[in-house]
């Protein structure tokens, strides 16, 4: 690890001003991505500003049909939260299959979506549920937030404060785990909004990161059932291919995971 200066912020405003002072600052949340990258010397921020102890970034709120998860809430706290389990059980399930216990105790929803790894789980949930990302400056629709591999709509120094999810009629998530990293080799989140709108998002599959799957959305809109997806054909074009999965395999997984997510949806 290169030499760095660590700061523990106590408010979002303080974090933003500390960030501005450093020559090459980075926010730190759970550290499950940033710290390994720093240890490998692939990143060398001058200043690290820890968001983990900021009270206003912690916790879950359910109000009416909106579930809000604050940015620095850990996966473990999300997974075990009664409101999450009741309002959107698919999110509780998603966190239960994310990483391992050590990662779940530390990693945060804000860190996950700010990082926007193409194989991360949470981006699929945000996109399929039509969530809104709240920052210290604005609100950003999930459709606009994720902009390709490790790229988001966040500006330099902008802090995610929370994510708000409209509570759906039904939602489900299924993931084929990457055999080595346990990220999503392909994961599919399906959601049927209370308005009847159907949104489906796949992660781990596309060369451009998390994506909506229009063909499956159309099929499910006509008939919300696993068998409705039988006849959908998913092209392997533009899908990721690596030693653990060819593009054709990932195309198959999009279908199979979507079917299983529908079957599991509650």
């Amino acid at each position: 690890m290169y030499q760095t200066t660590y700061h523990r912020a106590s408010s979002v405003d303080e974090a933003a001003s500390l960030f501005a002072k450093g020559s090459e600052s980075k926010f730190l949340a759970g550290g499950q991505t940033l710290l390994p990258v720093m240890k490998q010397r692939l990143a060398g921020p001058s200043d690290v500003i820890d968001l983990g102890r900021i009270k206003e970034l912690q916790g879950v709120e359910l109000s009416g049909d909106t579930l809000t998860i604050k940015a620095a809430t850990t996966y473990y706290d999300i997974m075990t939260n009664a409101d999450v389990k009741q309002a959107i059980p698919a999110i509780a399930y998603l966190t239960s299959v994310l990483g391992d216990p050590a990662v779940r105790y530390r990693g945060t929803i804000g860190g996950s979506i700010a990082n926007n790894d193409p194989a991360a789980d949470f981006p699929a949930a945000l996109l399929a549920l039509g969530a809104t990302v709240k920052t210290n400056k604005r609100s950003i629709a999930a459709d606009d937030f994720f902009q390709g591999l490790f790229t988001t709509a966040l500006e330099d120094g902008e802090i995610i404060t929370a994510v708000s999810f409209p509570v759906p009629a039904k939602a489900g998530y299924e993931k084929m785990r990457h055999p080595a990293s346990r990220f999503a080799l392909t994961g599919v989140f399906v959601a049927q909004a209370k308005s009847g709108e159907v949104r489906v998002a796949a992660t781990g599959a596309s060369q451009t990161g998390v994506m909506r799957v229009g063909a499956i959305e159309a099929a499910l809109k006509a008939n919300w059932s696993p068998s409705a997806i039988d006849s959908v054909s998913i092209s392997a074009n533009g899908l990721l291919a690596d030693i653990h999965g060819t593009a054709e395999y990932r195309a198959n997984l999009i279908k199979v995971m979507a079917q299983r997510a529908v079957a599991a949806a509650r």
Partner: protein
Amino acid sequence: MGVEGIGARVVRKEDKRFITGKGRYVDDIKLTGMTHAYFIRSPHAHAKVKKIDSSAALKMPGVVAVLTGQQLVDDKVGNLICGWAITSKDGSPMKMGAWPAMAPETVRFVGQAIAVVIAESKNLARDAAEAVVVDYEELPAVADMHAAIKPGAPQLHPEAPGNQVYDWVIGDEGAVNAAFSKAANVVKLDVTNNRLAPNAMEPRAAIADYDTAEEHFTLYTTSQNPHVARLVLSAFYNIAPEHKLRVIAPDVGGGFGSKIFIYPEEMVALWASKKVGRPVKWTGDRTEAFLTDAHGRDHITHAEMAFDANNKIIGLKVKTYANFGAYMSLFSSSVPTYLYATLLSGQYNIPAIHAEVIGVYTNTTPVDAYRGAGRPEASYLIERLMETAARQLNVDPAQLRRTNFITQFPHQTPVIMAYDTGDFNASLDAAMKAIDYAGFPARKAKAKADGKLRGIGVSCYIEACGIAPSKAVGSLGAGVGLWESAEVRVNPVGTIEILTGSHSHGQGHETTFCQLVAERLGVPISQVSIVHGDTDKVQFGMGTYGSRSAAVGLTAILKAMEKMESKAKKIAAHALEASEADIVIENGEFKVTGTDKAIALPMVALAAYTAHNLPDGMEPGLKESAFYDPTNFTFPAGAYICELEVDPGTGKTSFVNFVAADDFGRLINPMIVEGQVHGGLVQGIGQALLEHAIYDANGQPVTASFMDYAMPRADDVPSFNLSHTTTLCPGNPLGIKGCGEAGAIGASAAVINAITDAIGKNNLEMPATPDRVWRTIHAA
């Protein structure tokens, strides 16, 4: 058996220190004035090192020195050696390319060291390493074995034209051809044995400490065989004479073979410590482990098996290409030859076998022994062939094996090994019963109704362990003898120290070796301690690998114990005024049989050391040593059966049951044996389903971290169902065969046989990843 004697499930003594964080590993050791080494490694698979400019680095804070390969040459430090000479079929010796500990001129794999920075801290050394400017001229590289042997392929070593290490043969080719010419059926199979990265939990590490006044070196290192390390370092590398070099291998966190070898980093640390006049520490990180710990396996094989009309095997021919990587590691030459082809008879009567093995250099990490070392490759091949044959001949795979089992012992195979004993039907019976083999068709039908493809796979392995009779291995080219030594010291107060040349790096010797003492003397194991891993304390030793520590190391202890007991009995008889022949040892006492006269062990020990009243002419003291050289290999064998389900939608495999019926001869501590089997099975399953060290066409490693290299985790494997059938090994007095490698040798074939049974297609390579299985299911 006593409560802590042979056969008792005694809790491991060493675990208290391990699970309370009190283990003392090399990296835990800190010496006064210690400096830290960081190696500069080639990012290219093949390149000329044109220039190394360390001027900027030398000005960085805390930098003590930057040392290069050329300085090793200038100081006449020897190149790395390979300790087993193999002769090609044309009579020529193996072609060994020079491997300097840091490359002065040419690098041949990604991660090969070219220079080292010595600094006040590891981080400072690493900072400075980034400031060393290396000018490389890239050369074409080749990572694939088939590409490497093609005409026009990039050449690695001038010594080895065509990138060929050797072309070695074993067996009677004429007899095999004759058998094939009268065969009723011939079964053919091509298999790849995937390359593995060993990944011990503790990475390799070394601390070298040169004492300028005494001109003496101490090396703390992660070694499975500290005496062998000292021998090789002093005999071949010209760094330190043997009597001026102490090698200490303290607690070592797993080896699996990868810590047998003497690596460049230890050599450089020793040499650098003298150069800078201060202790030098190097601790590898996980990336360095992936790049530089010797890899395992990596064979491509074509095999054909000939059957007569009664489904009896009449001949076997095998042609194997074995990847050596860029250099010949310490025992690399023996692994695909004498540790592989000599086991090709499996558990079967095969009258004629011929095998040809071609060793190939590629621009990849060197390959050497990894848990099982050659025997997993042999067992996998034979057991895949048997399954393939059963399918082709349309007979039950268990029955085909029984038709061909060796049932008379001793049995001389056509490939050197003479099996001493075994009962292969008994193991197979036990495994079939444990898994309810007969009930499988009904379970398969039920699974099918649930949309799952269920399969069952058998693997009947045999291995040669207890490595090894020195004379025999010497005649086959080994550069060392493979006996073991032991010393038993009974202290004046009656506690006992056992000094052993075996080295424990997870095997539990500190418990099992004490159990032998408890068994013989009836003393609690708390009164016994095991001393190992230090060349200044232990007389000598060949170390731990090849499932040898119980069969060879413990037998050496037994021999020393017998000598000690014989002397102690004389002392007791003298004190009790009885005849030596009437003395028996029970519960820590020497008793006159049939009387109530007895003297406790501490009193015998005290008598030995006070020497006030010893029999005439007897030397004082109670300490004996022994060297034990085995007379044959031992032959652990067993039957593994795996039942699993494949999800046709994803190709994912889920275990239903995995049974292992092993014959290890006598068990010292069944709990520790089970632990060894569990670990081995997990490694075998890891090879079958998950693990694969991959290079791209240019020799760049694709799997140099756990993000890409899939190690098995607890939830990847089933809860194992173990049992034992026992035939005692006639080759050693304790009847022990060894258990350390069996799981890794037998498991992978059972898994692949089960998956191919489930999906109804025979051709499937390891690792059977979900993607690969899914594509195989849906292939035309």
